[in-house]
């Protein structure tokens, strides 16, 4: 027997999805932030108990563990990374701290810069200079490097970043310096900028390199301890680590490129979303995940999550490819308040889990989104988290009355409805960020809804954006753990190769690409991926000459190796036109290449999913009662049926307004929406009358249909 387990370590809970053949079970245990591997082993112990086997029997039966970790993310958010030194070109050591001179809040004179991850006195200047082509102007001064090492020893530096001007075009100086550092500062974690990110733009590179060194030692020691613990219990299978780009990698790769895990947490969501939407014939989707404090939205298009090459974490720039996930401060704990002008606002402040919403009775006095959901009848006070937490409706009403209803001169229910509406609107804006603002029409995508609180709000988010259909997976509360088992091995490479397309040395570019493919093949081979499961995807970053922003678009390996100039130009014009509404094809403006990118993908084995036989459309067998709840379309309360989500069957059709309750999730159907249960137990929700615009028919939910228009 061989099990696959997805493990998502979050701030509060560690989620598990155990795939056993075609059946899947879910587990949740409390996280142990001081050493997350303890909570992880606790969870495995609980899983073993539930299967009536010993921990070591369980461990021996696992063939794959895929693991998402927030170790590096937390190190950056809490400033607890390694003491790091930077070795850089003389004259530019402050680029890291200057961040190109930005102040994000322009009218706020109390807004301060983020503290640099390497203080100025540990940013050591080194003489030696390359020109813009990588030719040496001045030899590397190794004595300066020795001087830096002396300082680092004295100061107890554990980790070093090496980043020189124009090294993207010639890594020689960086390699020489690193060699010296490694020999004179043994045991130090060293990152060479061109090993991590050999692409042009100094600030992007130095910031990313420093982040890598800053989090590297912490991730390494965590992985060491995790591997040891797993060995101790007898695990002999494959351990894979989730990366920010939505792929997975071996722990050995993660050790050297620790910064690839900076957004490991939510990165599995889009892949999970794709699996669910594919069951309905859609190769694209929007995923939304509403937790306690934040709301993550991402886009999957043509079978692949959207990747961006520029991002930031806690205002630190990171230029490695990562999923384009937008996070906004909207969650169950978001606090409702009245601003100076008398307008109702929700968040971004959150009551968190402690004291939490007023209804938790743990001392929270201010009204949150969860309090509004409770007053509006969407939550059952006796069945929250399956009845583990008893909710106090009167506490919610009191908090809403004092902080929002009275100031607005509204009855409590109306104020609660207002809070509900505002937060839904905020989340809809978050979805706009990943769609409209990037040139995509949200109406063309089904939405996959995750997170405990998400499905209560999904109808209204969908309605605001006119999205005709959304899906709530049965595993929506442990969405990312599920997504991890569906992710492939994935490695991204980039090289800068600057020049006008019509004057480019295409042979040289072809050689660069061949090198990148070889490197990818080598990495995948080390991860035991045979050639027939390896794939390579090439893309180019180009721009019109004198533009400042590049457009990235996919091309074939052949197009590059055979210098198919016309073909490449056409693809660029088309993508520019799609994103910005025009191209300069007619004007004949020259196109400039900046970077070539390669993604090496090793396909992993995915767990199968059992399909349920269809039953009738009548959901009566799942009906568990009736509740008075707020119906937004009526702007008032009405009685609505409540169904038990664990008893619904494939083909059941539920007409809104209604509630579907599971242990960790409640789905609210407003009056404009109906739901059909699909063969995997997911809830497919349609705008009334628009079902034929979606892809599913009640009888055969896996049939492929037209795309939603």
């Amino acid at each position: 027997m061989s099990l696959k387990i997805g493990i998502d370590v979050g701030g509060t809970f560690t989620d598990f999805l155990v795939a056993d053949g075609d059946s899947a079970t879910t587990f949740k245990v409390l996280s142990t932030p001081s050493d997350p591997s303890i909570g992880l082993i606790d969870g495995l112990t609980e899983i073993a108990g539930s299967r009536d086997v010993s921990l070591s029997e369980l461990a021996r039966s696992i063939d794959t563990i895929v693991h998402g970790t927030t170790v590096t993310t937390n190190a950056v958010l809490t400033h607890t990374g390694a003491k790091t030194g930077l070795v850089t070109t003389q004259g530019v050591r402050d680029a890291l701290e200057m961040r190109r001179g930005i102040r994000e809040e322009q009218y706020n004179n109390r807004y301060t810069n983020v503290p640099p991850l390497v203080p100025r006195y540990l940013r050591a200047p080194v003489a030696g200079r390359l020109d813009y082509k990588g030719d040496e102007l001045e030899a590397l001064e190794l004595d300066d490097v020795r001087e830096a090492v002396r300082l680092f020893k004295l100061e107890g530096v554990e980790s070093v970043a090496v980043c020189f001007m124009n090294a993207f075009a010639n890594p020689q100086h960086e390699r020489e310096a690193a060699k010296l550092i490694e020999s004179e500062l043994p045991g130090a974690y060293v990152t060479i900028s061109t090993d991590l990110l050999p692409s042009i733009r100094f600030y992007e590179r130095v910031s990313t390199t420093v982040l890598n060194s800053y989090v590297g030692p912490k991730l390494s020691s965590y992985l060491d301890s995790l591997v040891l613990r797993l060995q101790e219990i007898g695990f002999g299978g494959v351990l894979l680590i989730m990366q920010s780009n939505g792929g997975v990698m071996a722990p050995e790769v993660a050790r050297d490129k620790a910064s690839l895990t900076l957004l490991s947490g939510p990165a599995a969501g889009p892949r999970a979303g794709l699996t669910y939407s594919r069951a309905h014939g859609h190769d694209s989707c929007i995923t939304v995940d509403m937790g306690g404090t934040s709301f993550d939205a991402a886009l999957v298009r043509d079978g692949a999550p959207i990747v961006v090459n520029e991002g930031e974490i806690n205002r630190y720039r990171i230029a490695l490819p990562m999923l384009g996930i937008v996070t906004i401060g909207a969650g169950g704990g978001s606090v409702g308040w009245i601003d100076e002008g008398g307008l109702l606002r929700m968040g971004p402040e959150s009551a968190g889990a402690d004291p939490g919403p007023a209804c938790y009775g743990k001392g929270g006095r201010r009204p949150t989104c969860t309090d509004a959901d409770l007053v509006l009848g969407y939550l059952d006070p006796d069945f929250f988290a399956g009845g583990k937490i008893r909710l106090d409706v009167e506490a919610s009403r009191g908090a809403i009355e004092e902080h929002t209803a009275k100031p607005l001169n509204l009855p409590i229910e109306e104020a609660a409805a207002g809070m509900y509406r505002i937060i839904n609107n905020n989340m809809a804006q978050g979805v706009r960020e990943i769609t409209v603002k990037r040139g995509y029409d949200p109406r063309e995508f089904p939405m996959v809804v995750a997170g405990g609180a998400g499905p209560i709000h999904a109808c209204l988010i969908a309605d605001e954006l006119d999205i005709p259909m959304f899906l709530v997976p049965r595993e929506s509360s442990i969405f990312c753990a599920a997504g991890m088992l569906m992710s492939d091995l994935q490695h991204d490479f980039v090289r800068s190769f600057v020049g006008d397309l019509d004057k480019l040395d295409w042979d040289a570019l072809g050689r660069v690409l061949t090198d990148m493919v070889e490197e990818g093949t080598r990495l995948l081979a080390a991860e035991k991926i045979p050639e027939d499961r390896s794939q390579f995807q090439v893309s180019l970053d180009c721009r019109y000459v004198k533009q400042y922003h590049e457009v990235s678009f996919p091309v074939s390996v052949d197009a590059v190796c055979q210098a198919q100039l016309g073909e490449i130009a056409t693809l660029f014009h088309r993508e520019h036109n799609r994103m910005f509404g025009y191209s300069l094809e007619q004007e004949g403006t020259p196109i400039e290449l900046i970077n070539i990118r390669l993604r090496a993908v090793g396909t992993t084995e995915k767990p199968a999913r059992a399909a349920e036989e269809p039953s009738g459309a009548d959901p009566d067998e799942a009906l568990k009662g009736e509740r008075r709840l707020f119906v937004p379309e009526d702007n008032g309360f009405a009685n609505a049926p409540v169904y038990d989500g664990n008893r619904t069957r494939h083909g059941h059709r539920i007409v809104g307004p209604a509630l579907i309750e599971q242990v960790n999730t409640t789905v609210f159907l407003s009056r404009s929406y109906d739901c059909v249960c699909d063969k995997y137990g997911s809830f497919a929700v349609y705008q009334k009358g628009k079902e034929n615009r979606g892809a599913v028919t009640p009888g055969d939910s896996a049939a492929t249909g037209g795309t939603a228009a």
Binding site: G91, D94, Q106, N109, T112, I200, F202, G341, K437, F580
Partner: protein, 561 residues
Amino acid sequence: MSNVDPILLSVMARAFKSITDEMSISLEKTTRSPILCEAKDFVTGLYDGNGNMLEQTENLPILSFSLGPVCKYILKYFGDEIYPGDVIFHNDVFSMGNQNNDVAVYKPIFFEDELVAFSAAKGHQADIGGAVAGGYNPGATEVWQEALRIPPVKVYEKGKFRKDVWDLIFANIRFNIVQEDMRAEIGSCVVGERRMLAFLEKYGRECFENHKKALFEATRKMMEAEIGTIPNGVYQGESTVYYDGKNHGKHYSIRVEVEVEDKRIKFDYSATDAQSNAFVNGTYTSSASATVLTLLQMVNPDIPHNEGMVEPVEIVIPEGTLLNAAYPAATTYGNHLCPANADAITRALAPVIPDRTTAGWNHLLCSLTTGRDPRKPRQDDKYVDICFMGLKGGSGAMRGVDGYDHIGMIDASGGLLDQDYEMFEQQTPHRLVHHEYSCDSAGAGEWRGGLGVETVFEIGSDDTQLVVFGDGDVEPAFGLDGGGSGSLNSIVLRYPDGSTKTPDSLDLIREVPAGTVYHQRAGGGGGYGDPRKRPAVLVAKDVNNGVISKKAAEEIYGRKT
């Protein structure tokens, strides 16, 4: 107010902001001139059918007040003759424009056959005709030597493109890139129109009008509450402009009288000196923008930017003064009078709201190099580089917080980004030698000023043209409450033969040879409070990091190291 849903009001405020943000992103990503796509010297906004501001995305705060007044002028100018499908251009500084190079596009939005709103965008164009490419002409004495004047003119009427009008305009502008960037502005207005119409279809006209009024009201109350916390009284402030580009030794005073009466605030510039006979002159809009942005930094930064925000603010700038020059004066430098204007306001208000005013910010001293890149084969392949990294000094400290290092002048407040070093060496033939914080540049204080920077690069093209404009080379950023002043701005050229040249603060230098070393210092911001009260640990940290010298620590901060 009747029929106002307090919830919808919140939704609406958010929706308008998202529309103007989206317009702004569209413009940033599609324009080609670096001053637009890198420096983001543009503004996008929505206005109602009467020209009242609904929301704006400003990017650079100096543009905070520049679109609304023109919208009102356009309504007056065309009267009933504004139609669906019109696209209107405008830059004229004598009909409420702020700067000649800032060319605006207005697109009227009709709903159910009635004019309901405007979407608008305005950006700094790479050229606008006149005697000198790029528009900076220190020799100008009249507007025509600076620019082509564009009073309100329709380039589309009722959806029909007016090729003749378009060609007349662009026949007078040097670079083709300006046509493309103006198309990008129109595109951004279309984005705004589309979103606004979707909004109107969803909620209806009447609902929009009712809620709009309520929104202005709510914002006005917020602003009034902020003003209400400033003690009533009349406060005077003054600052000096040291050079007008023509008359060496001639100084001008900006004098402001700030009158606070309960919920209203008035800025009266009647005592400011008369206008110059050069191009160092403000326009009403550029000066009023400077006033508004300075005030906005003293109040809650979350106040929405709509008509209600400016309603309690009165600004009096008599025509003929340095800040509102009379027709047909040259005014291209007007935006850059903002730092001096902000200084005068700060000096007036610092004694009464010491917790909300900063010490002086470093002023702009900017340079622009153009030439032929010898690495490129084509003779006509010219580069233009605005040295953003060199011009950004420190902001002033305030009670409780140090100044912001390397932020740049107050009219941009950190919205203007450095060039990337490696891109700089790709796109210009210059080689960067040094760009770091400069030691002892920050004004000393219990809270020190923001650090200035030192920039050195080697010029890589012969016959390079260098344009310099700005100030801060005579008077440093001032300290407050016992704090010291920041360091001065300077630019020095060292020619290959060893000789040096220090350009004037407004200057144009031709034929700079390759191998010349450009050396710029952008000064630090002013300090706040007695430096001897600065905690020893913070002084030690700055010394350890090499941004305060041991000598200064000992002599100014009184800390042995």
